[in-house]
Each structure stands twice: as structure tokens, then as C-alpha cells.
Symmetry: C2
Subunit: 156 residues, 2 copies
């Protein structure tokens, strides 16, 4: 059962997502919109880049990781949290066509808000792995998350 | 004229992109793929979230900022650099439908590689602003960038 509020998280909890494949078409489509460098756009042009072959944009990997988190650690708090800050992102290995990615998130620290008792801050470390178990991205972020019993008013 | 290699960057240089609009359709399309929370997906559902109205995913803002950087500071080094690390991202204000975003990037530090003389590391701070001059995102990243005269071999 998903965690539905800040008070249900515990330091050290780990959440693992199901895997999700990244296709050549996905890589090129994302790149055409946001990161149209040759290593993300075209197999031949990619040969003359630092990567030597087609790879996903790091921002594609980061965006996919958000999806994987919504399918695991954040499933129950969708719409009841917000990202305050990304503390760091490292792209450890390239993501190549047909890689299957999954995310493992760990709760690193929790701090209830002093001024607003219906919410708290969670520091979450998420490593995104490919099908060979290699880390492709390591990220630490700080999220504001509401308690399960928090009431949101329309137009809050 | 765009900067085409590591040796042409100088600490303190600033680059400003042209503005680019973010539509309601853009926000929902990105969210459907990567961040399907109610505040990014639907005007009515967004009223019952912490934001109170439709806002872009922070990952959408980050990805758009990559595009704005490729249209300014990174224009001449497309395909000849790679993101090593994001040192931090802060989402300072929400991005709402029809906002027009532009990015201002500043070169914070430069370090030539000791082992590979054809490249170096640049720390770049980029603030993404809306049409009211408000910062919507502040980000610092570390990029590896080749010198203008670097030779890349096929399959490098």
C-alpha cells in the first residue's frame, strides 16, 4: 500500500519502481523538444560526439525518473507534495536505446514543519539503474509533503 | 558569434537567451509523459493542490532551460560537451500557462583538464526568468566542454 502522507515516511525506507523501457523514438522525441544535440538526435551524427553513439539526454533520464518515483515512492502523495530543491544530480552512465530503467528511492531525512503542522520536508535519494544494474543517475532532492490528514482548500 | 570551444569561455561571461512561451498544451503534454500529478494535468484538479492552479512540472522547466541554453551559451558547443553533474536546482516560482521564459547563464569557474588537454570543466550558473523578471529556476551545473581544436574520432 502506498504511503499517503508525510507522517507515514520513515528514515531508511526504500522504494523500488517497476522497470520502464526507453526506445530510440523516445530518445529522439525528447531531444527534438529540449536537447537537440547530435548525440541525442541521430545515430550517425552521434558517432562524432563524446559518446560515440545515440544516448538519452540527461534531462530525459531525470524526467523519466520523476515518472518512476510517481510509480513507487510518490504514488500515494501525488498532488500533495512539491519539489523544493534538487540537491544534486550525477549522470553516472549513458542511457542507450532499449535500456530498461528502474528507480530505487531511499528516505534520507525527515523534518516536520514548525510553522505549518500539516506538512514536512523529506530528503530523498534516488538512484536510477539500467537492466544491467548500473547506476545511470544519482539524485538527491528535498520535497515538501503534506500529512495524510492535511486539508487543502480550493484556490489555496 | 557563439563560443565554440572551452578555451573561448571566460569567468564572468553572461549569455542571455531569447524568450520562449510555455502553453497549457505544453504543460499537460509533458506531465502526461513524465509527471502526471493533478497540478500539472488539469485546471480543476489543480485547485485542490498546494499550487491552487495549473503549473508546469519542475522537470519541464529544467528541460526547457536546457533548450534555452542550447539557444544561447551552448549554441556553439552542441555535441562537443556533456553534463557531468548538476550541483543544485531550486524552483523559485511556479511556471504558469503562457509564461514566457528566458535563461541567463554565467560562467562561474573554468578548469582545464590535466590528463586530457583537449577539454576542460566549466561551472555554469543559469537562472530562468519569466516575463515579469521573476526567477522560476536557479541551477548550477558542471559541464565538460571540448576545445575548438579537439578532434573526435568515430566511435570514440
Amino acid at each position: 500500500m502506498p504511503v499517503t502522507g508525510f507522517e507515514q515516511f520513515e528514515v531508511g525506507q526504500k522504494f523500488t519502481s517497476a522497470p520502464r523501457a526507453v526506445t530510440t523514438a523516445d530518445i529522439k522525441q525528447f531531444a527534438a523538444q529540449f536537447d537537440f544535440q547530435p548525440q541525442h538526435m541521430d545515430e550517425t551524427a552521434a558517432k562524432a560526439t563524446l559518446f560515440g553513439s545515440l544516448v538519452a539526454s540527461g534531462w530525459h533520464t531525470a524526467s523519466l525518473t520523476m515518472r518512476l518515483m510517481l510509480e513507487s515512492i510518490l504514488e500515494g502523495v501525488s498532488g500533495r507534495g512539491l519539489g523544493i530543491r534538487i540537491n544534486d544530480i550525477t549522470w553516472s552512465s549513458p542511457v542507450r536505446p532499449d535500456d530498461e530503467l528502474h528507480a530505487v528511492s531511499e528516505v534520507m531525512s525527515l523534518r516536520p514543519s514548525r510553522s505549518k503542522p500539516d506538512r514536512g520536508l523529506a530528503v530523498i535519494r534516488t538512484t536510477t539503474h539500467n537492466q544491467r544494474g548500473e547506476a545511470v543517475q544519482e539524485m538527491t532532492g528535498t520535497l515538501l509533503i503534506l500529512r495524510s490528514d492535511a486539508l487543502l482548500h480550493l484556490g489555496n
